[in-house]
């Protein structure tokens, strides 16, 4: 009886506790070190491991839990951070993770504790958020379970599926060729493989007549992937942590950092396994090496002993697939369209070669360049000037948002590529996008970019889909809305890691006054800055005396000079002068030839005259007679 009553007591205590404080604390100790990995079986390489393991552990919490991650940077040669992608971090902006935005890069040997409450549900992920870091394997799923999800009782089991591009070389080896004078188009490095749960040709064992929840996350650095299951339709129930009205679909297009939860009901019979097909969006790739396998097959495994056949891909190229348009999804909470914005930001994506010959990415004319002080720390140390965007430096591209304003971002794309844009700290309503997913997606790619026209657009949806990563179509646009109810410094950036390193991002500084009132930085964070030799007070230039003096701020490259600069004019003038002088010399030389004219060479004349009469004739004639 004792054990029985003991467990009853324990269960009762749990119930009581959950009733009192509604949540528990989940702690992870992450010792981040280099390990080796060979997920595609082709090349063994160094990867970022946690506690000696790679693939990395999935973080799992329940809605309402306190999540504590004690990170120790044991990499030895590389700074790192962790960003918990999709976490609102309301009130804990300092735990968000992007280096030089809300914290200092954590140098080798340093410790950093992330500690925040997870008051949201769904599928997320975590990854390193310093330049050139997470493609080395430092990324994994973060799942927030929610027993109260409306579809919680509709499935029996769940799977987490990550898809990802994969490089055989370390990012630090790829980066110098990427940001280079020899890569003027900014052609992104071509991956060597595409992984499924950090491996290839794997199986999800399933039972017949059963419904599964599959959480799909693109944890790659560059390439979006199409996803479908042969012979199965599925029901979308969540995107980026937002539950949606159950919506039938057959093909998904999963941009970098996007998440979908789908319900899949298995078939009746077990005589066959079905291919789960992932197709890399090859339109994003400048070249497709013959060794790169764009289509990958994994299996819904009904029967382990039945054959596992590679999928038969029926389209010539990935873009022929017609994916479900996430714009049309309706959130399960039916949150209505936000009212007209109090504040609107309109920017355009540009890819340009700058003065050093490297390709950069810009929003309007600004390529995000990290400041000398993490922007959050500038907010907290700037007093009354925190509402003046100047102090954050021109090249962090800051926008100050008033607390609780409705903010609208209009993002136009002057580039021929698609860009998955992510906003930290929020999900946002997607209220306009052109062209939409499907056969028309590339309609604007050739010709001139089409910007958003506020006076001529389709009606905004009444209950717009919400998510935290939204794909911007080639040379098209999207419009998003959200409420600035989360004081903090939030990065809005393209989640293609290469583009972020090219500067495709900007900062939203939301309610700086409220931040100063509510936030304080843990001492450990400041210690990390000291270890990293990064300032913790001052404006973007590190100036603490005069916040309006930005002398010495990090700035982007100059723009390419167009046309003739001073040296060009000098060079051209010199060339013209040399050519003219040269021609003068030729004329002089040529005119002096006239003295030869009609001045019969005396010796020649002599030869001919002195020939015995008819000599030449005779010679020739004799030759003739021979």
């Amino acid at each position: 009886m004792a054990p029985w009553s003991g467990s009853t007591l324990w269960a009762a205590t749990i119930l009581l506790l959950s009733w009192i404080c509604a949540a528990k604390t989940v702690t992870y100790d992450f010792n981040v070190t280099w390990v080796t990995g060979n997920p595609d079986g082709m090349t063994e390489r160094k990867v970022v491991g946690i506690n000696g393991q790679w693939p990395l552990p999935i973080i799992e919490v329940d809605k309402g839990d306190q999540l504590i991650v004690n990170m120790h940077n044991g990499l030895g040669d590389k700074s790192a951070t962790i960003h918990f992608h999709g976490m609102y971090q309301n009130g804990t902006n300092e735990m968000d993770g992007p280096s030089m935005v809300t914290q200092c890069p954590i140098p080798p040997g340093a410790d950093f504790t992330y500690n925040f409450t997870v008051n949201q549900n769904g599928t997320y992920w975590y990854h390193c958020h310093t330049d050139f870091c997470y493609p080395d394997g430092y990324r994994q799923a973060l799942i927030v379970h929610d027993d109260n999800a409306y579809f919680h009782d509709e499935y029996d089991e769940e799977f987490v599926v990550t898809v990802s591009d994969w490089y055989h070389e370390l990012v630090e080896g790829i980066a110098p060729d990427f940001l280079s004078v020899y890569n003027p188009t900014g052609a992104e490095p071509i991956p060597d493989a595409f992984l499924f749960n950090d491996t290839l040709n794997s199986s999800l064992p399933v039972k017949p007549n059963t419904t599964y929840l599959i959480r799909i996350i693109n944890i790659g650095a560059f390439v979006a992937q199409y996803f479908y299951i042969d012979g199965h339709n599925f029901t979308i129930v969540e995107i980026d942590g937002v539950y949606t009205e159950p919506t039938e679909a057959d093909i998904l297009y999963i941009g970098i950092a996007q998440r979908y939860s789908i319900l899949v009901t298995t078939k009746n019979s077990t005589d066959q396994n079905y291919a789960i097909v992932t197709v890399a969006d090859s339109v994003l790739l400048d070249t497709i090496p013959p060794t790169l396998q764009l289509n990958n097959t994994n299996w819904l495994e009904y029967n382990a002993s039945a054959p596992h056949l590679q999928a038969n891909i029926t389209v010539d190229q990935a873009s022929d697939l017609n994916p479900f348009d996430d714009f049309t999804l309706v959130p399960y909470d039916n949150m209505p369209l936000l009212p007209d914005p109090d504040y609107e930001i309109t920017v355009a994506v540009n890819m340009e070669v700058m003065g050093n010959g490297f390709g950069y990415a810009l929003l309007d004319n600004i390529s995000y360049t990290a400041p000398k002080v993490p922007t959050l720390y500038s907010v907290l140390s700037s007093g009354n000037l925190s509402t003046n965007s100047e102090i954050y430096g021109e090249f962090t591209h800051p926008f100050i948002l008033e607390h609780n304003d409705v903010v609208q971002i209009v993002l136009n794309n002057n580039d021929g590529g698609s860009h998955p844009f992510h906003l930290h700290g929020h999900n946002f309503q997607v209220i306009q996008r052109a062209p939409s997913y499907g056969p028309t997606f590339y309609d604007y790619a050739d010709g001139d970019p089409v910007p958003y026209d506020p006076s001529n657009h389709t009606a905004f949806p009444a209950t717009p889909a919400r998510r935290d990563v939204f794909v911007l179509p080639p040379q098209g646009y999207f419009v998003i809305r959200f409420v600035a109810d989360n004081p903090g410094v939030w990065f809005f950036h393209c989640h293609i890691d290469w583009h972020l390193s090219q500067g495709l991002g900007m900062l939203l500084i939301e309610a700086p006054t409220q931040m100063q009132e509510r936030m304080s930085i843990p001492q450990q964070h400041l210690d990390v800055c000291q270890a990293a030799s990064v300032l913790t007070t001052g404006n973007a230039a590190g100036n603490t005396e005069n916040f309006l003096d930005l002398a010495g701020q990090n700035s982007q490259q100059s723009f390419l000079p167009n046309g003739f600069t001073a040296r060009g004019i000098v060079a051209l003038v010199f060339s013209v002068i040399s050519a003219l002088l040269g021609v003068v010399f030729i004329v002089v030389y040529g005119l002096s030839d006239l003295k030869f004219h009609n001045k019969e060479n005396p010796e020649i004349a002599m030869v001919i005259e002195n020939l015995p009469k008819g000599a030449a004739e005779t010679t020739v004639v004799n030759d003739y007679k021979d």
Partner: protein, 373 residues
């Protein structure tokens, strides 16, 4: 301007054609002087004139065959291999063409001097033939007999093949439509000017014409030299960039900013109509590099130095330091014989050759006369 006129091609064809015509015309006038007098055997004179013409035309025909084969190989076989590194080949061919045009171009200005030179050469040829008259090998007797055929034959063939090689090389990458017009007009212009020179029209106006055309030729050559350097530089850049360079047209990224002296996002001679003529004639580049600008200027400096030296030599008969240079070269084993031979010729002077020739001629004629008895 549509792609129908490649200016370089015109000038090269013109130049080679003119040279051939001059040699033929010198031959004809030499024959006329020696044999074409009314008191001489008109039949032999006419036969020899026919030989000259036959030789010239024969040379042209052979050169057309060789040239056709060359172009055929060039475009048939080579294009595939070369198109991949077109800039490299363009650079190399332009470099070779520049060197040859530069060396030969100034001779064009010395047309009167050249004529004299050829007269001496022909006289010398006559002398040599009579000198070797006693050797009766078939080859020599044949060559003696058909000297008036062989000389123009070889000349026209050589100039023709030269022209074909240049046209083929220089115009790598030019569309085929740009060829016919400049080739035809180049030949016509060459023939016309050659004829004018033969007829001995107004020496002054012919000379002015030659000066003008030589100036243009050198402007082209300077541009080609600059373009050669540019192409070689661009080749190395494009190699490192990969196929992306072509994607960029003339915009940012189509050039190496570190090497750039000026760049305008237009007026690209490779793709914008009209600017290719500007490039062909004056070496225009919309994306000038340090290499292309410096080489252009150095080319002209080199030309000016060369002309100064030649004028100085013509006036004083020698160059400063020439004696020292020759003395030095005599000590170098490899150069020794070459210098000696050169020395022999230059020491001889024309008068000496001619005097020797006279003697040989005289004895030859005497012997011939005896032989007839």
């Amino acid at each position: 301007m549509p792609d129908v006129f490649a200016a370089q091609v015109f000038f090269i064809v013109f130049r080679e054609c003119l040279e051939a015509v001059i040699i033929v015309s010198v031959l004809l006038s030499f024959l006329k002087q020696c044999l074409g007098q009314p008191d001489q055997d008109q039949q032999i004179y006419k036969r020899l004139v026919r030989q000259v013409w036959a030789g010239s035309i024969g040379g042209i025909v052979v050169c057309l065959i060789i040239g056709g084969a060359f172009i055929g190989v060039f475009y048939g076989l080579g294009k595939d291999i070369w198109s991949e590194s077109e800039d490299l080949w363009e650079g190399i061919f332009y470099l070779i063409a520049t060197v040859i045009i530069t060396i030969m171009g100034l001779a064009l200005l010395r047309i009167n001097k050249t004529k004299e030179k050829w007269k001496v050469k022909i006289a010398q040829a006559l002398v040599d033939r009579s000198k070797h008259a006693h050797t009766t090998s078939r080859l020599s007797s044949w060559s003696r007999r058909y000297a008036m055929f062989i000389l123009p034959f070889i000349t026209t063939m050589r100039e023709g093949v030269e022209a074909v090689v240049f046209v083929g090389g220089v115009s790598l990458g030019l569309p085929a439509t740009e060829f016919p017009l400049p080739v035809v007009t180049g030949i016509l212009a060459g023939l016309l000017v050659g004829y004018l020179i033969y007829r001995g029209g107004n020496a002054m106006s012919i000379q002015i014409f030659l000066i003008a055309s030589t100036s243009v030729l050198y402007l082209i050559a300077a541009g080609m030299f600059s373009k050669a350097i540019w192409s070689l530089q661009f080749h190395t850049f494009a190699q490192k960039v990969g196929s992306d360079v072509a994607e960029e047209g003339d915009g940012p990224g189509s050039y190496d900013i570190r090497e750039t002296v000026w760049h305008v996002n237009c007026c690209n001679p490779e793709i914008d109509n009209g600017w290719d003529v500007f490039q062909a004639l004056l070496g225009w580049q919309n994306s000038a590099t340090y290499g292309s600008v410096i080489s252009y200027n150095m080319y002209w400096v080199g030309i000016m130095l060369a002309i100064s030296c030649m004028l100085y030599e013509e006036r004083t008969g020698s160059l400063p330091l020439k004696r020292e240079a020759v003395a030095l070269m005599l000590k170098v084993p490899g150069l020794k014989n070459y210098v000696k031979r050169k020395q022999a010729i230059s020491n001889d002077k024309t008068a000496e050759i001619v005097r020797q020739g006279q003697a040989h001629l005289a004895t030859g004629i005497l012997r011939d006369a005896e032989g007839e008895k």
